[in-house]
């Protein structure tokens, strides 16, 4: 008998929260607008676009709007660069009252001019924000005229904050990228190697993948967008295959590139041993070279033996714990459940901000009966379910860290703020280490006793 949740939830929220019952065929509601008046964790269209494009290291990211939009997203991802550092600056038109009344196009033109004069950029992204959408500045026209005048690429990103959700922002970013890729497409050129889509080089994760491909002799043509550059992105159309890690943000680009250039894509995940191995095999299968397949087998054998040995130590210290997951996209949630299963940790709650129906189905498949599954949750729901299901750890983003700690629950960051790479074989150990550090911290002991004991 499964205990159904006793949590006070709004009638309108009920379809967005389900309890995993294997015998009941019922889909969760998802991919809808949040209710007005909720403490939502979700961001906006602009945020979606910015997080996708920001890691392009030599691009000038100019935010057309009031200062806040630029301020809060200044160096937002912690994506690392092996070369240029331009992207770590925050450029904005800082719109004022006058611009709102008379229009901001002049200010935008002038800001582009000032950028060009100071830095001689090759590529500028101009982001539209909420208020720009309302006052109706013609971003495309301003960008086009700047391109003509200065002979550089000035790409508008249609990311007006209210015009959809974060997913619309991912699309706006992918559209901007397509614009750049098309520019240099040469169908006559022989195709070779792969593009990596949906990795942002947080804590050097892209470098781990690149290292693998280098050892296996797989050429990487372009990276989207962790540690990438304008020149690199322009070459992307010549790749043989696209591998898509974060499908939420880059699945669309994969599809568009298939349509436009005939490049097929496969979904991969480098979170967890099993997913990492499966992904490497998938890539080798696709590239279809016997020698490559052998190299992959040898590589994963060597790597996984070592990782499994190291992991055993942590498995002993972690097994029996109960985990709650609340992350941005479904793909990450799925990977996490698998990794928890590997570590002997039971997932008791799993939710996302932007998960899709099929992803939720997979979460249901992977998790146990009784697991709470929820879409677009708010802090009080998270709090109640974590308490009710006795979670020992929450995996989530920065806003949830403080909530978990306040409840005396361990926390692991699996979002923009992470400081250790969590992908590949190395990431498996880092993840286990982090879980151990927080779940087994002596601080929780203090909480369980007080002065009167």
């Amino acid at each position: 008998m499964i205990r159904s949740s006793s949590i006070k939830a709004l009638e309108e929220r009920k379809g967005f929260i389900i309890t995993n019952e294997k015998t009941v065929e019922k889909d969760i509601k998802c991919n809808e607008d949040s209710l007005a008046g909720v403490v939502s964790q979700r961001a906006c269209v602009y945020s979606g676009a910015r997080v996708v494009l920001n890691p392009i290291t030599d691009a000038y990211h100019l935010v057309h709007g009031p200062i806040g939009c630029a301020s809060y997203t200044w160096d937002i991802r912690g994506s690392l660069s092996s070369g240029a550092e331009v992207y770590r600056n925050s450029f904005s038109t800082d719109l004022g009252e006058k611009d709102i009344i008379f229009g901001g196009e002049c200010k935008l033109s002038l800001a582009i001019k000032e950028l060009v004069e100071r830095y001689q950029p090759e590529l500028i992204f101009v982001y539209s924000t909420c208020v720009v959408g309302v006052i109706g500045d013609d971003l495309s026209a301003v960008c086009k005229s700047a391109e003509r005048e200065y002979g550089i690429r000035v790409v508008p990103v249609q990311s007006t904050g209210f015009a959809g959700n974060k997913i619309s922002g991912y699309r706006a970013a992918c559209d901007a990228l397509m614009d750049l890729i098309k520019e240099n497409n040469n169908p006559a050129e022989e195709k070779e190697g792969i593009n990596i889509l949906g990795d942002y080089n947080l804590a050097a994760e892209m470098w781990i993948l690149q290292g693998y491909f280098q050892q296996l002799g797989i050429k990487v043509v372009a990276k989207f967008t962790g540690d990438s550059s304008y020149q690199e992105i322009k070459k992307a159309a010549k790749a043989k295959l696209n591998i898509v890690q974060c499908a939420g943000s880059m699945g669309y680009l994969g599809k568009e590139m298939e349509k436009e250039f005939g490049i097929p894509f496969i979904k991969v995940s480098f979170f967890g041993i099993k997913d990492t191995i499966d992904s490497l095999r998938k890539i080798a299968d696709f590239l279809g070279d016997r020698q490559l397949k052998d190299r992959v087998e040898k590589f994963v054998r060597k790597k996984s033996v070592k990782v499994k040995q190291e992991l055993e130590f942590y498995r002993q210290r972690l097994k029996g714990s109960r985990a709650a997951i609340y992350v941005g996209g479904g793909f990450k949630a799925i990977s996490l459940i698998k990794q928890f299963n590997d570590l002997g940790i039971e997932t008791v709650m799993v939710g996302t901000q932007t998960g899709k129906k099929e992803e939720y189905r997979e979460m249901k498949e992977l998790s146990k009966e009784g697991t709470v599954i929820l879409d677009d949750a708010n802090p009080s729901e998270l709090e109640n379910f974590m308490k009710e299901r006795g979670a020992d750890i929450l995996v989530g983003g920065v806003k949830d860290r403080a909530l978990a700690y306040k409840m005396g629950i361990a926390f692991c960051d699996h979002n923009h703020e992470r400081k250790h790479p969590l992908s590949g074989f190395e990431g498996v150990i880092n993840f286990a280490k982090e879980l151990d550090m927080t779940i087994n911290s002596p601080v929780w002991q203090l909480l369980r006793s007080d002065l009167n004991d």
């Binding site: 806040g68 809060y72 200044w74 550092e85 909420c130 015009a163 306040k406």
Partner: protein
């Protein structure tokens, strides 16, 4: 990015590079969190609310809740009335706050939603309060937003009670400061034996103790009763003209309460002035505790003055804090050579320049400036120490200058919000930090044969 800043300065008209401010709504949200059991509500798109919560969470390392009207395309075409009405219904049904403090965003301001009239049409549960502040992101800065929200608190709550002459209390508006600072201000006023109403008060809200239970509305915060009663106090002390003066003036207009606009009590002189003003108003005497603290501070200043005398310093951040810190730096014998705030307002430049004039010094001073400009100044005239928020760390790294973290936001260090930089004790802490930053640097740079145990 560190080599991208050229020393040559060209004036810019439109392009802001690396902002030294952010937008109004976050200041308003922070102010609203200083009311007990208040849920700040952001009337606009979800992104704004999410960014503000994230930023405040990073600075305080505490859960920050706020709700949003979750605008979509429909609301921005037809107006946000329906969203706000639904939002208020949902907020009271799910989160049950005592007070909802609504702030606007650039979006809702531009489409022109009339918030007070929408509030007027909504059925608000008995005993609950809903009020709003107009905080367009394209005007002023987060400090302006803070000021607007505090002024809105006065407008909504403060009332002169019939037949009540005075409650004998003093109103204190501490400004955009950390919970630790607020606790220090209370300590001073309590040491003087003065009854007070302090608002907004984030202590106990954003530095609440860990109990293993998450409380959406922790014990702290100014109560609605106190906010109402602020209309019966004997005077209002606004600590900092940018963040707090408007609310004090509003109290004067509304309830005839005399406003006193003081500097933020950071450093010896500003703390002295704060205490002397309280004494003048109440006739109380300075207790030994405060005399002792002041004496300790001056003693420390004498012990350490050789560490920082004549050192060049760049100070940046929010205007009230920068003004007070500049005064304190001067009193320590330091030379402020670059002083900058991102917040617009001519009073900043005037105030800094008059202090510098008095000291016979000249400096680069700018309001509505950005971090790029500050970096350029430093390239042209290097300093020994930077004082400001986390956004100075790249300049500090590029130019190899120690950074004393002070102000908002501090995203890369923890625990700072629990300790005060205000009052005599706060000044001692600042001196300790400045001295240690400079001495650490000296030890690092000293050759082996010159290193000493005693400095």
């Amino acid at each position: 990015m560190l080599d991208l800043v050229p020393a040559e300065i060209k004036e810019r008209e439109s392009l802001v590079v690396n902002p030294a401010k952010t937008c109004q709504p976050i200041g308003a949200m922070y102010a609203a969190l200083g009311i007990h059991a208040c849920l700040p509500h952001s009337h606009g798109s979800q992104g704004c609310c999410s960014y503000h919560r994230m930023h405040l969470t990073k600075h305080f390392r505490e859960p920050v809740v706020a709700s949003t009207s979750a605008f979509t395309e429909g609301s921005s075409v037809f107006g946000g009335r329906a969203n706000l009405t639904t939002a208020l219904k949902n907020i009271f049904a799910v989160y049950d706050p005592d007070v909802v403090a609504i702030n606007t965003t650039c979006l809702s301001e531009t489409i022109g939603d009339d918030i007070p009239s929408i509030i007027g049409e909504v059925d608000i549960p008995e005993g609950k309060e809903v009020f709003s502040a107009s905080t367009p992101s394209y005007v002023g800065s987060h400090i302006t937003g803070f000021s607007n929200m505090v002024e809105a608190m006065v407008k909504h709550f403060s009332r002169k009670g019939e037949g009540i002459k005075t409650n004998g209390k003093v109103n204190i508006i501490p400004g955009f400061v950390n919970p630790g600072d607020i606790r220090e201000v209370k300590h001073i006023v309590e040491a003087l034996g003065i009854e007070y109403i302090l608002f907004p008060d984030q202590s106990g809200v954003l530095d609440s103790p860990m109990t293993g239970e998450y409380q959406m509305y922790p014990a702290g915060g100014t109560t609605v009763g106190d906010l109402r009663d602020s209309g019966n106090s004997r005077a209002t002390l606004a600590l900092g003209s940018f963040a707090s003066a408007e609310a004090a003036f509003q109290l004067e207009r509304q309830c005839k309460i005399k406003p006193y606009i003081l500097k933020m009590p950071l450093g010896v002189k500003a703390t002295d002035d704060f205490i002397m003003q309280l004494i003048k108003l109440t006739g109380h005497e300075v207790p030994f505790t405060l005399e002792e603290e002041r004496g300790q501070l001056v003693d420390i200043m004498a012990d350490t003055h050789n560490h920082f005398h004549g050192k060049k310093v760049a100070i940046y951040g929010d205007p009230d804090l920068v003004i007070a810190m500049t005064e304190f730096a001067l009193s320590l014998g330091m030379l402020p050579v670059h002083v900058l705030t991102g917040t617009p307002g001519k009073a900043f430049k005037q105030e800094i320049e008059s202090m510098l004039d008095e000291a016979g010094l000249e400096a680069n001073v700018k309001e509505a400036g950005d971090m790029f400009k500050l970096h350029q100044w430093i390239k042209n005239e290097p300093v020994d120490l930077l004082i400001g928020n986390s956004y100075g760390k790249l300049i500090a790294k590029a130019e190899d200058i120690p950074l004393l973290r002070l102000g908002f936001p501090i995203l890369d260090r923890s625990v700072h919000s629990y300790f005060s930089v205000l009052g005599y004790r706060g000044a001692m802490r600042i001196i300790e930090k400045i001295s240690n930053a400079l001495l650490d640097r000296r030890d690092r740079d000293t050759s082996e044969e010159l290193i000493e145990f005693v400095l």
